[in-house]
C-alpha cells in the first residue's frame, strides 16, 4: 500500500531521513518511517466522550483497540476519498491510529540538509521541507495529542 518517489529507499543515516508522505484533506504531511506502525484500510472509529483535544475515539483492529488522533480536525480539514486509510503511528504512550486520505502514501528519502524549522503551529513538527511552493511538515509523533505544541 505504498509507493516510492522513484528513488530507491536507502537505510536512514545521520545524513538522511526516510519519510512516509501522506495527505489529510489534501494537505501533504510527512512522518519518519521509524515511527510508522503500518497502514491499513480505515474502519469506522468508535467515539469516546472525553476532553482530550483531538483524541476523541478508538478504532478496533481485530483484537487490538487503538486511540484515534483526529489529525484532520487539528488541521481543520476533512479527509478525502471513499476508501480512507488508517496510518498507525508509534507513540511513546502506545500506538495511535490516524485517518488519512485515500491517496496512497509515498516513501521518500530526504537529505537532512533540506530539513528546515516548521513555521506554522497547526501540527507538532520536527521540521519541514519544501515540495515546490509547499512546506511539508514532518510530524513529531511523540507530541501528538500532548497538548499545545
Amino acid at each position: 500500500m505504498l509507493r516510492t518517489n522513484g528513488h530507491a529507499q536507502h537505510h536512514e543515516t545521520s545524513r538522511s531521513w526516510n519519510l512516509l508522505v501522506f495527505s489529510v484533506g489534501g494537505r501533504r504531511l510527512a512522518v519518519r518511517t521509524l515511527e510508522v506502525g503500518g497502514i491499513s484500510q480505515w474502519h469506522e472509529s468508535i467515539p469516546v466522550s472525553g476532553r482530550t483535544p483531538f483524541v476523541s475515539g478508538v478504532v478496533r483492529l481485530n483484537q487490538i483497540v487503538l486511540p484515534v488522533f483526529d489529525l484532520a480536525a487539528a488541521l481543520q480539514r476533512t479527509v478525502q476519498g471513499t476508501s480512507l486509510l488508517c496510518l498507525r503511528m508509534k507513540h511513546s504512550l502506545g500506538d495511535l491510529a490516524v485517518c488519512i486520505d485515500e491517496e496512497i502514501p509515498v516513501l521518500q528519502t530526504l537529505d537532512r540538509s533540506m530539513i528546515q524549522p516548521y513555521r506554522d503551529r497547526d501540527v507538532p513538527a520536527e521540521g519541514s521541507y519544501a515540495h515546490g511552493q509547499e512546506e511539508v511538515p514532518i510530524l513529531s509523533v511523540s507530541r501528538l495529542g500532548m497538548g499545545v505544541w
Binding site: 476532553r51 483524541v55 486511540p67
Partner: protein, 178 residues
C-alpha cells in the same frame, strides 16, 4: 412500569474470577455498568419517559448520561429503560436506549483506556471490553453516581405504581452466570 431486581449482590471476586457487566446502548454506543452495583432494570411499558422510579420505598433519581457524556446532540432516542445502581449511599437510575444483558469477562479482558486519553475521562471509564465487533466502554459507577448523594430520597409509597418482580428473562439467566 416494571422493575427486574437482582436478588443478592455477588461476593467480591478474586482477581481470577470473572467480572460481570451489564451491557447497554446509550446514544448508539455500547456502555457497560459494573454488575456488583446493579440493583435492577426498569422498563417503561408504555413507551413513556422514565421518571425518578420509586422501588421498595426508595427513590432513584434519573441520571442523564447522554448529557454528561455529550451524547445528546447525536439524535433523539428512546429512553424507556433505566439501570438502577447503588453504591453505598448513592443511588440512581441511568436512562438507556437498550439493555443487552450481562457479560462475564476475565480481568485481562477489561482493557485500560489508552493513555492518550489524558482528560477527566480517565475517571469516567473503568476500561473497555471487546464486544460485537465494537467496544463497550465500562463506566465508573462512582462517577456515574457522584451527583446523587444529596439527591437520595427515601419515600414510602402507600400506593406503588410500579411492580417489583423477581429477576426474570435474560437478566435472570445471565445473572446466574455471574
Amino acid at each position: 412500569m416494571s422493575v427486574s431486581m437482582k436478588r443478592e449482590k455477588r461476593a467480591t471476586s478474586a482477581s481470577t474470577s470473572p467480572l460481570c457487566f451489564l451491557v447497554t446502548t446509550i446514544g448508539g454506543r455500547y456502555f457497560g455498568f459494573e454488575a456488583e452495583y446493579l440493583l435492577g432494570v426498569q422498563t417503561s411499558e408504555n413507551g413513556e419517559s422514565l421518571q425518578d422510579p420509586v422501588v421498595q420505598g426508595i427513590t432513584y433519581r434519573v441520571v442523564d448520561l447522554a448529557v454528561r457524556l455529550n451524547l445528546a446532540t447525536e439524535g433523539r432516542w428512546d429512553r424507556t429503560q433505566g439501570v438502577l445502581l447503588e453504591d453505598g449511599r448513592r443511588r440512581g437510575c441511568v436512562s438507556v436506549q437498550k439493555v443487552h444483558g450481562l457479560l462475564d469477562v476475565h480481568l485481562s479482558q477489561l482493557l485500560p483506556l489508552p493513555a492518550q486519553f489524558r482528560g477527566p475521562e480517565r475517571v469516567w471509564y473503568r476500561g473497555m471490553i471487546l464486544f460485537d465487533h465494537s467496544v463497550v466502554l465500562v463506566l465508573n459507577t462512582a462517577w456515574v453516581l457522584e451527583e446523587q448523594l444529596e439527591g437520595v430520597v427515601s419515600k414510602i409509597e402507600s400506593q406503588g405504581t410500579e411492580s417489583i418482580v423477581a429477576l426474570q428473562g435474560t437478566m435472570q439467566s445471565k445473572d446466574q452466570a455471574c
